[in-house]
């Protein structure tokens, strides 16, 4: 055997990008090995989008529909598409970490010259790319049911809001992943993911405007970045969406609702994302202390 290439202390940015690419390639390769389950997943997406659209058709004319501009189909399809991305932000880091743990890849990854956070983020990127296909299905079904979206440069603004939205919730994802080691939540009922996902569906305006909620739930919704992301995106993409105050905080500052939305998203991201990264590192430190990086010691 020839002498091998020497170990590296740290990878260059180019080498790191190479690692990200190979991890994306790995996920693609694995997905093609499970083509039946992938197909079943997208059939499920199609069915959920269709159910929501039919529901929208049924509800047209209801009293609360006026609050969202009367176009429930666009409202719910945008809600579903963006909540899909945000659910990915919440679950992908834990999925990546637990996948590495259960397949005994975690220890070798932690010895590698690339940071574990890069590996987790590369996996998240893969899940986001998958979501783009899911969103495509939602938009396709929505357009069959008469969904109307703004076009032109607004779509790019919507894309910006999409990225901002993903980043804003990613902190919850890393917080959830940290629980894997911090409280040994190695089963399927990790509490942070469960709580954030449940709240997202209940109080962030995915399916209905949060103004219909009781006051204390509206308050909870105001603490979640998803609420502002969804409002921001709907304002950008739905021509029929009301331009006035749609969230409780909109009336509290002398600024336009959209500026308040962006300000709230950035502020909450600045709080949650570093907290998530910090907790994630603490979780790994704890696992290094108590031997929790692998299933056997």
């Amino acid at each position: 055997m020839m002498p091998g290439p020497v170990n590296k202390t740290r990878l260059t940015p180019r080498e790191t990008m190479g690692v990200v690419m190979v991890l994306l390639e790995r996920n693609l390769k694995l997905m093609t090995r499970f083509s039946v389950s992938t197909l079943m997943f997208y059939m499920g997406v199609l069915s959920e989008a269709a159910i929501s659209a039919f529901l929208g058709k049924t509800l047209i004319g209801g009293a609360n529909i006026a609050q969202i501009g009367g176009d429930y189909v666009s409202y719910v399809i945008i809600g579903l598409a963006y909540s899909q991305l945000m659910q990915t932000s919440i679950s992908a880091p834990l999925q990546s970490l637990s996948g590495a743990y259960w397949s005994s890849r975690l220890e070798p990854l932690l010895r590698a010259p690339v940071s574990i956070r890069t590996v987790v983020l590369a996996d998240c990127l893969w899940y986001y790319l998958n979501d783009l296909v899911t969103i495509g299905v939602y938009v396709l079904v929505g357009s069959l049911f008469g969904m109307k979206l703004s076009g032109g440069p607004v779509l790019f603004a919507g894309l910006g809001a999409l990225i901002l939205g993903c980043v804003s919730v990613l902190g919850f994802g890393f917080l959830s992943a940290s629980m894997f080691n911090l409280i040994n939540a190695k089963g399927h009922s990790e509490p942070v993911e469960w709580l954030v996902k449940t709240l997202q569906r209940l109080v962030c305006g995915v399916y209905f405007p949060i103004t219909v909620l009781p006051g204390w739930l509206r308050g909870l919704g105001s603490l979640m970045p998803q609420t502002y992301v969804l409002d921001c995106v709907r304002r950008l993409l739905m021509p029929s969406y009301p331009r006035g105050h749609t969230l409780p905080v909109h009336g509290t500052l002398p600024m336009s609702p959209q500026v308040i939305n962006v300000f709230a998203i950035v502020s909450l991201t600045a709080l949650i994302l570093p907290l998530g990264f910090w907790a994630f590192k603490k979780g790994l430190d704890k696992a290094r202390n108590d031997g929790g990086l692998s299933r056997w010691n």
Binding site: N7, G18, V19, V22, L30, P113, I183, G291, L293
Partner: protein, 354 residues
């Protein structure tokens, strides 16, 4: 010159909560939180606080280019020691350096200085894709270019005799072949120090011999890499290592070259060829002389040999007399060679396998 590996008072103590089976693993996080907040055992919930000392005050000095062995039974603390040196576990106390780098403060430099070969059960491979593809991914993760990773993958697979299986998935390999794959993965990149955690477990005699030859001749002698090997196979330690540290219950109880270790014990081995040794006679023989360590190789008729390790000062003739009075007919008896297992027994009173 700095030693390749230096440890002083290295200690690892695990403190953990041990949930019982009252609650499914999915729900145990709640018990952890309650126990963490209250700081108490939550006996009603089945959580118990435990602590265990895996490694206690490890003092090692491994020279550059040395082939060093950590020999001990299961649970002696060998893997924990390797994991601390590989920066995967944080020590509870003490300090250690690898190639002069501190294992806690200079983790990145330490990782660049070591390669690790773990058990084949911990390969970290995706079982649905080919071995070649998996190794290539690991090569990329370790910073090799696509071309370099592909070239190196073929080289290491050839070195462990698995090149012809490269397009198969690791799921179809036997445990011995997976162990060879673990060796291959450890050789993807090259570092001055190789940490090997029981690299021949599960290998058949031929494959184990090939792996040992690879480690000794190729890695250690030709390339001059320092090797720290953990094993519970005494012959492996004897055959490969320049020096051996015998570990038991987290402590190093002896450390020297295999020959010196064997020469240091005040014990002798007698091998008795016997015929017609009845089973109950053998039991009585063992029971009456519990300080002797007896290993028998007898057929159903009681014909064969018994190997007796005497750690006391009793005369050799007393062993022969005792066997005869227990019903055996002793045809011949000779002095046997002391092995590292005998050294372990002499030091601890227990067998390596126990």
């Amino acid at each position: 010159m700095k030693p390749a590996i230096l440890t002083r008072g290295l200690r690892k103590e695990f403190r953990y909560l041990n949930p019982s089976s009252n609650r499914s693993t999915s729900d145990q996080w709640l018990d952890y939180i309650i126990s963490f907040v209250t700081g108490k055992n939550v006996s009603g919930l089945g959580v118990e606080r435990r602590h265990a000392i895996a490694v206690d005050s490890l003092d090692l000095e491994v020279e550059r280019g040395e082939f060093f062995g950590l020999l001990g039974p299961n649970g002696a603390g060998k893997t924990t020691s390797i994991k601390m040196l590989a920066t995967i576990l944080t020590p509870s106390a003490g300090e250690a350096t690898i190639d002069g780098y501190d294992i806690v403060r200079d983790c990145e430099a330490v990782r660049a200085t070591i390669n690790v070969v773990q058990s084949g059960a911990w390969l970290g491979f995706d079982h649905n894709v080919s071995i070649r593809w998996n190794l290539g991914v690991w090569g990329r993760i370790y910073g090799l270019s696509r071309r370099e990773a592909a070239r190196r993958t073929d080289e290491v697979l050839e070195a462990v005799g698995l090149l012809d299986r490269a397009e198969e998935t690791s799921g179809v390999l036997s445990s011995g072949q997976r162990q060879r794959l673990a060796l291959a993965k450890g050789f993807l990149t090259q570092a001055p120090i190789l940490l090997c955690d029981e690299p021949t477990v599960g290998l058949d005699p031929n494959a184990a011999h090939a792996a040992r030859t690879l480690l000794k001749d190729e890695v250690n002698r030709k390339r001059g890499q320092t090797v720290l090997l953990t094993t519970h196979y005494m012959q492996e330690a004897d055959q490969l290592c320049d020096r051996v540290a015998i570990m038991d219950r987290g402590l190093i109880i002896a450390c020297d070259s295999p020959d010196r270790l064997k020469g240091s014990v005040s014990a002798c081995v007698l091998v008795l060829d016997v015929t017609g040794f009845p089973a109950d006679g053998l039991s009585a023989f063992k029971k009456a002389h519990s300080s002797w360590h007896v290993v028998e190789r007898l057929n159903q008729e009681g014909d064969g040999s018994i190997r007796v390790l005497i750690t006391g000062t009793e005369p050799e003739a007393s062993v022969v007399n005792a066997a005869t009075s227990s019903g055996a007919y002793v045809t011949t008896w000779n002095r046997g060679e002391i092995t590292l297992e005998d050294v372990f027994i002499a030091l601890t009173g227990r067998r390596l396998a126990s």
